[in-house]
Subunit: 442 residues, 2 copies
């Protein structure tokens, strides 16, 4: 047996704690695979009390993560602090400069400073691995970086945020409104007190930025991603799409088009009988369309202490075997600039929900706006909501409230759709902003 | 740039041809990742005419695969001949003995001689990789070997044979009988003229033998797998399970129990709203339950020239990066013996379809046989088939044909089920052998 594989773990929160538990529980198994002992040599955390944990009896406590990162006793620095800068970035840089391998679960750090950190890792001949940064236990980084490395990737897309998928699933299954389900998600600990980062699509965008870079060999470019959240999704959308044979999912999608990379986070309609439509609750899923492999779908736990620890540990074991490759497969010097495709050039089908004033000619006006942009319609359904008289009120004829029109278009460009909907809004026939959701062909 | 990564490809059939196409088409991409040229230095095939193919202009033709395997011009020997012995085995052994890395898509070779070949590879310090041997483009070998290597695996199961899944999907979607759909599969080239290897479950068993070894660190033991095919599945089963909320899939399942490894290939009921139930046609899927990662599902193309070539190429690129590990992760000297669990100890729910003589007391006799074995029933439904009078026949009362009884049990042991059904058969109340299908909890 050669000398132990020594780890320095910075951060003992959910993921750090999970990793300590994993090594405590499965350390012998890992050591038997590697042919040498795996050992937690040092840890750092905000408070020393966090290190009072089974499995850490022989680990040296560091109050300073940077000091841990540079300490000669460790071979691999595991950054589980989080945050795009600050101590997380400083300690990762310190470790790489000290020629230590780095494993991190920090999507924000990678999505904002991924390329410069990759350069630093490559310069120092060490690994910078981040399987846990995207989709928890799902081995999507390894699949893109290794399993599909012989392929040209056409598209990568997925359900990358468990909070949003939980909310959309509950809205679907229990016919409850968005705000109500969001409160439940907060009570269950799936959503933060300020849920904007999740439901606004920003968390998904961080992960998509990393996947985009791996899939297309481009520089990480978080600021080039189009982001829409799920706040606008109503029970009316859930019910209408259900009856048309679809589910609504918050998808991160990146594909290479003739004009550049189209990378977007937004609600999307997927066919109800597709495997990704069945991905419910906090589960994540990532699909990859590749020129030779075809379509690969990976489904699993996207968050949580144990699944995330599993992903961190797989990176550690790879390094233990001596498997060192550039963080984004393509050497960072060769990563292409991320050229953003015009979203207006997106070509696909759309779901549209309009709420119409009860005025004559409203429907004709909509049909004309679509026709003028050469958008042909696959289906158009109008429901008129009839408000029954209030209980106890004097009997009188039921009131007509605004009518809802649900449209599914054939394939068209986003520019045509956008302009048609602008015309419809200007015509004053709708009571609120039209809802428009892309249909994702799987 | 260091010296080229040189390949010797033995076998230019579907997969071999696909690999040549892949390297011809994506070779520059692969070379840019590896930082050195990838080059097909030599090929072998039955007839030299097979090597008249774009991408092979500079490859030397060998009529003897063993000579190619030993040739000093190649670094990696790619065995795509097929078959558990003969020239495939001889050439792989020759390559390993000549200290050349081996990549193969040959499930039969691995399922029968995997351990001895792994020993040979380890002794010579070279790789023996076989991602393409199981589930085509789905990176299940890499996921078990690397992504989940920190985990203890509880169960691995999947849809591993596209032919069977195509037949079951068509029976479901088109309400057509087994024999009819099998003919269609043969016409489409999905099934062989002699379909036994596929529909009898043997192909799935080969793949399951390999997955079992990787998942549990045991010696490959094809002969320890319980095998049932899909020949007994009737349209009556498809319809009954559908109405109860299930789909029938041919699953390979391996799990570690207290008494040993339970590895079985058989039709199984899975919930209709599970992601694996939506895996239709020739698509494959593999699910893994792991102690830390949780449940991971991988879905993709299980066969075909391009997907299989993608898997072969991923192994080649790993070797090009210098990633060499024992073929079954666990060094072959440490692989445990495969201790077979008694299938009678299998604990789960069952679907049973009985066809009863129209005799008084038949139902009571069934209920007693189940009750005597302490099998409690979740549901029991009896349909009496009424045969309408033949057209043109003289009017007479409809004939009663045998009644069908569909039972879903609560969890029980396989031994109890088997004995209860034996009793029912002996009682003479059934017109044919009872159909019994395990329900797989996902």
């Amino acid at each position: 047996m050669s000398e132990p594989l020594t780890l320095g773990i910075a951060g003992l929160g959910t993921v750090g704690g999970g990793l300590v538990d994993l090594i405590h529980q499965n350390g012998k198994h890992i050591s038997s695979i590697l042919g040498r002992e795996i050992r937690i040599a040092g840890v750092s955390a905000k408070a020393k009390s966090e290190a009072q944990r089974e499995g850490l009896a022989n680990a040296v406590f560091f109050s300073d993560a940077v000091a841990l990162a540079k300490d000669p006793s460790i071979a691999i620095f595991v950054e589980l602090i989080g945050g795009e800068g600050g101590i997380a970035k400083a300690s990762v840089e310190a470790a790489l400069n000290a020629k230590k391998h780095v494993v991190t679960a920090n999507k924000a750090l990678l999505a904002t400073h991924g390329v410069e950190l990759a350069q630093l890792a490559e310069k120092n001949g060490v690994a910078l691995y981040f399987e846990a940064a995207v989709a928890g236990a799902i081995p999507v980084i390894k699949t893109l970086r290794e399993a599909l490395s012989a392929n040209k990737i056409k598209r990568v897309y997925g359900i990358l945020n468990g909070t949003c998928n939980f909310i959309l699933t509950q809205m679907q299954n229990e016919k409850r409104p968005f705000a109500d389900v969001l409160k439940e998600a907060q009570a269950l600990g799936y959503a933060e007190a300020d849920p904007t980062f999740d439901i606004g699509g920003f968390d998904t965008a961080h992960k998509l930025a990393i996947l985009t870079s791996l899939a297309f060999g481009t520089k990480v470019a978080l600021d080039q991603i189009h982001i829409e959240g799920i706040q606008s999704i109503t029970q009316a959308d859930i019910e209408a799409t259900d009856s048309l044979g679809y589910r609504i999912k918050l998808l991160g999608v990146a594909r290479e088009t003739e004009s550049g990379i189209e990378a977007r986070v937004s609600p999307a309609l997927v066919y109800k009988d597709s495997a990704i439509a069945e991905v419910s609750g906090v589960t994540n899923a990532v699909a990859i369309d590749a020129d030779f492999a075809g379509n690969i779908l990976l489904v699993g736990a996207g968050a949580g202490a144990k699944p995330t620890a599993s992903a961190v540990a797989s990176d550690i074991i790879d390094i233990g075997f001596g498997f060192i490759m550039p963080p984004f497969v393509t050497p960072s010097a060769n990563l292409k600039a991320h050229k953003r495709a015009k979203l207006d050039e997106h070509y696909g089908s759309y779901y549209v929900r309009l709420t119409l004033h009860d005025k004559p000619g409203a429907m004709a006006s909509i049909a004309k706006a679509m026709g003028d942009r050469e958008i042909s319609l696959e289906s158009i359904v109008q429901h008129r909501h009839v408000t029954p008289p209030a209980p106890g009120a004097a009997a009188h004829p039921a009131q007509h409230s605004p009518a809802t029109v649900i449209i599914i278009t054939h394939e068209t460009t986003e520019e045509s759709m956008r302009k048609a909907l602008e015309t419809i809004e200007k015509d004053g026939k709708v009571t609120e902003r039209p809802q428009m959701i892309r249909i994702e062909e799987l």
